[in-house]
Symmetry: C3
């Protein structure tokens, strides 16, 4: 990655202060959408879309045009350069080499934007990478909450629908957790938040999941258990001191601030949509629940029928307003990435260190991770979540690395990942090993005094 270059790959790339500063900028742009064409004349954004999209692409392109910039569009990347066998790394090196001043990337593989950011000579903005993240949608959603509710901290936000495959939801829960909002999950059964997301919420953001009293949500939650995710860090607003007290857990559901619906991501289900009948649906009847009386209803769109059209005129329905905020927030993101506005905000504080996998096969087990779908120009990366036991995530797709053994490239010893000795291995010396045979093949010997593993 070029030093000093800004990218927006994950919502983690922005500090809370930067996010709030972007909101202020967006609010300024929204005041007169057509009054900012002097900001980016002569600059060009390139939309590289390997998956079809209209909404996201058009809102980025509208934002760039409203800033006075030019737009290059490749809406069908899959059928053009990619069909000639070009790697993503090569594509961004070319497009970023004078064609465009910023790249907006959508891709079917998780981690694609991270990979692109490592090679691109210009800023890369993640416009959705597989089921992984969609940070600009998240900024649009948070911005809407912030405008409608005046704050994000302490809000009670219900997320409903397909929480498993929706990248929008994943970026969104991380950010809600960082801001100290309370999150209630009402998924379609079988489409709960993925374990790696829950684990990250717990390990990095101190969020504890507890079972909440779903009956308070009335018809909406009929088929589901609700899971309540509450921040536990002392400096955050903590509503629950006793997480086992379900009666207490039910408390915040008395007043839901926002209800966020999402569509079934059937294009990622591989044919198994689960029980479509059990998909949570929202209409006047569901919204009659007392706890939803003041809740704003949000949806990243497109919707199918999970929100019935009888809700469109309801004043609580703000999903079209939410969509319209995609333009000013993306104007703020583009102007920031291109260095045309300065955010008076401290830089990122999250631990963003990635380590390369130096030996052995790629330890990531996610078949749609870019580290596995791209055969060239990819060095597997990992991020360390804990040192004892060793717990790590793929640096591209964020899925957990499940190898039971780890080795040290200096001592050439290997250990089970919860052996006390692993604490002494420096992160940049770590390698992940599937079993003793693989370890032996790569020249490692057991570092434990007991019988060799494997």
């Amino acid at each position: 990655m070029k030093p000093g270059l800004r990218h927006l790959v994950s919502i983690d790339d922005l500090s809370l202060a930067e996010i709030l500063a972007l909101f202020e900028a967006a609010r300024g742009f929204a005041g007169d959408l057509r009054g900012w064409a002097h900001l980016c004349p002569g600059l060009i954004s390139a939309s590289l879309f390997y998956e079809p999209s209209t909404r996201t692409r058009l809102s980025f392109e509208s934002a760039m045009l409203r800033l006075g910039g030019g737009v290059l569009t490749a809406a069908e990347m899959k059928s053009s350069s990619a069909s000639k066998g070009e790697s993503l790394a090569d594509t961004v090196r070319v497009v970023g080499g004078g064609y465009a001043d910023v790249i907006v990337l959508r891709h079917a593989s998780e981690g694609a934007a991270r990979l692109a950011s490592e090679y691109s000579p210009v800023p890369v903005i993640n416009a959705g990478d597989g089921s992984h993240e969609h940070p600009t949608q998240t900024l649009c959603d948070l911005y809407t909450l912030w405008l409608e509710r005046g704050r994000i901290e302490g809000l009670n936000v219900v997320l409903s629908g397909d929480l498993r495959y929706s990248r929008t939801i994943h970026s969104f829960v991380y950010a809600l957790a960082r801001f100290g909002a309370n999150i209630v999950c009402v998924p379609q059964p079988g489409f709960e938040l993925p374990p790696y997301v829950v684990q990250r919420l717990s390990e990095e953001f101190g969020v504890e999941p507890v079972r909440a009293d779903a009956t308070r949500l009335g018809d909406l939650a009929q088929a589901s258990d609700a899971v309540y995710l509450t921040p536990q860090k002392p400096h955050q607003l903590s509503l629950f001191t006793d997480a086992t007290n379900l009666a207490a857990a039910a408390l915040p559901l008395e007043r839901v601030d926002a209800l966020y619906m999402t569509r079934p991501q059937t294009e990622r289900h591989g044919g198994t949509e689960g029980n479509a009948e059990a998909y949570p649906k929202l209409g006047k009847r569901q919204m009659a629940s007392e706890s939803l009386r003041d809740a704003v209803v949000m949806h990243p769109l497109p919707r199918r029928d999970e929100i019935s059209s009888d809700m469109d005129e309801d004043p609580r329905s703000i999903y079209f307003k939410q969509a319209s905020r995609g333009v000013p927030i993306r104007m703020a993101i583009l102007a920031h990435m291109l260095g045309r506005i300065e955010l008076s905000a401290p830089p990122q504080a999250l631990d963003m260190r990635f380590y390369p996998v130096r030996l052995g096969p790629n330890p990531c087990v996610n078949p749609s991770c870019i580290s596995r779908t791209e055969s060239r120009h990819v060095t597997p990366l990992f991020k360390l979540a804990s040192r004892l036991p060793v717990r790590a995530h793929c640096g591209y797709c964020s899925h957990e690395i499940l190898a039971p053994l780890v080795g040290c490239t200096t001592t050439h010893h290997f250990h089970e990942r919860d052996a006390p000795a692993v604490r002494r291995i420096r992160p940049d010396h770590l390698v992940f090993l599937r079993d003793g045979a693989e370890a032996a093949h790569l020249g490692f010997r057991s570092g434990s005094r007991s019988a060799p593993v494997g």
Copy 2:
């Protein structure tokens, strides 16, 4: 529909005076295509194309760029948002909500632009809806006639080719009839003007079809009967006092002012192209007919081989000039819709009232009407052509509503549609009923004193 918002869904949306004012504006733009970039800076048009098109899309986008505006392009809508199951109503609400300042829509379903105009927060321009209408092509065609002939009233215009599926032809004949031109139809056998078009011409524009002497057109009309449509209203130029007098009918064919060819719309034929051999063809031989001596030859393009290339250098061939006029006329339309030019012309005079269908199933029988292809966010509409007998057209696709019974939502009586009692039903209380069983099911009882119907 938002009050005060201009749309261009049908050529009917413009009065004759407005059309002429648009021609004056277009002529001004055409004088220096590159001199008008100050008119729309900061404004954005969005091309939402659910059917492929190059010509129409590029001419709109060229017009917007020449006005100094920006352009968003979604040339393959079918494969993007629509594939995620989004309704047209939602799409236009989003795209019109800050992304774009005007929407240019092409869609395979008849009535799609009408539906879009009901939901869009910004002006919608119909760039072709199924086999229904294509008003901006019609404006281009009329503009060309007006420039070449100095007027439209009283011109003798021959239309030839596939008159059944060509939306271009449908918008064009309505406008020719309103302007008081004489229309001669020389269709491919089996591809005559659809009955609902002829009916509307007769009911709304007072045009009477008579059989004309096709032999006057020589080789062109060899395989066809020619149908001559003549305006009968007193204030219009009426060439025929006795419509049964075929000898008289032959008179105007002595001097044809314009010959308008159209290609076979095979993509809408569903595999049955009719007898391709019998398709009217135009070449030097056909144009040798005395009555065509001064006729300009027009074609909306693309052509296949219905006009042979030996005509390209003939001074009567103006189809490429006609195509080039698409840019200035669309500049005029866009500038007008966006409120950047004022037409000194009185507003629309045609009856444009639409009534919602309040009860029962959708009475439209056209399977490619948007009211039937879109399952959500569509309330069937109708337009009343006559009150006794009740004759109505679908408010989207203009096809006739064929239900034999009508009911009143106040009295809950139903009647045959030619019963005198129907005259007392207020249009906004009308419902359409297929038969007595359906009527009974919906709670209606027979309003006639005779035996109950059905």
Copy 3:
């Protein structure tokens, strides 16, 4: 073709002086890519792409935007107008008739850009026509050589990979030959330069192919024979006086100035990719060869794995720099075509006369030539390479015309093409005849005194 209109169909359309003047202009643009938006405001380019492409299309569109112009994009022409059966000639007449001020055309058929230039009212730029030519890529490549080496004349350039189907290579070798560079071919076996290219190099540019000592290129040329193309004209730098002296032929391989790799054009191989194992590959090992020590490594991109990624950081690898030069060189081309910069250079000196085929069937035997894939609006053309024996090339695709007999439209005699009498036939009276039967059918009789042919 409209008189006075500039087109860029072939690299031959530019004189060497014009090419060098374009390089000077490009270098000026490259100094500040964002400082030239005042050159083309109000002007519009249209990208008409009948084959998918990202790189070429985006670099043209970036160039036009950086010049302050507007861009119309039709990235999927095959699926839009063409699907309605429109001819290329009609499409360019329409798009060039007010929509756009310059047309950038990519097409799968050889000669498509030549055909377009005959009908277009605005300049046409060939962005790749089948396996034929890709002159703007060639300008980019030459520009890169010129910048890196300070000159082109006398450089030793190795071309490697698929030399048969790569249009980039074809335009490039013609230009290298004209500039007097020495060319060494190291093709994948079976994918050598096509005979018509070699013939043209010899006939028009006085280049002689000799077998070179491939072993000097080490691992790179392992599987191949190398063919060395050396200019023989007195005014050009000639390294070899005795072409049969292979020891001498080996001399220039001591110092290769540039190594140009190209990918296998599998989309044009029709399923037979040859032996992929034998495809020349470039990596650190191959580049260790002494003769390649100072060679810059170029590639038109996209690459597959013919250049391994371990070369990406090697200072000799300039393929990404080369790609980035596509924008300033295309800015220079567009500004020149649009008349916004003046090149102080004499006009084209090459013989560019084309003659129409006046009688009989199309003599071009190339099945992917536009003269055969387009059924309408195409008159076959030829270019004369020699008068005795008659040797001619298709005016569209440049393939040799193989007819054994030629006739004269004035005398109605026919001859074998090497008969002395053919020298008396004026080029514009020439017709090509397959055999005596065809000649007789077209009304020709044998012009020889000996027994009739055929």
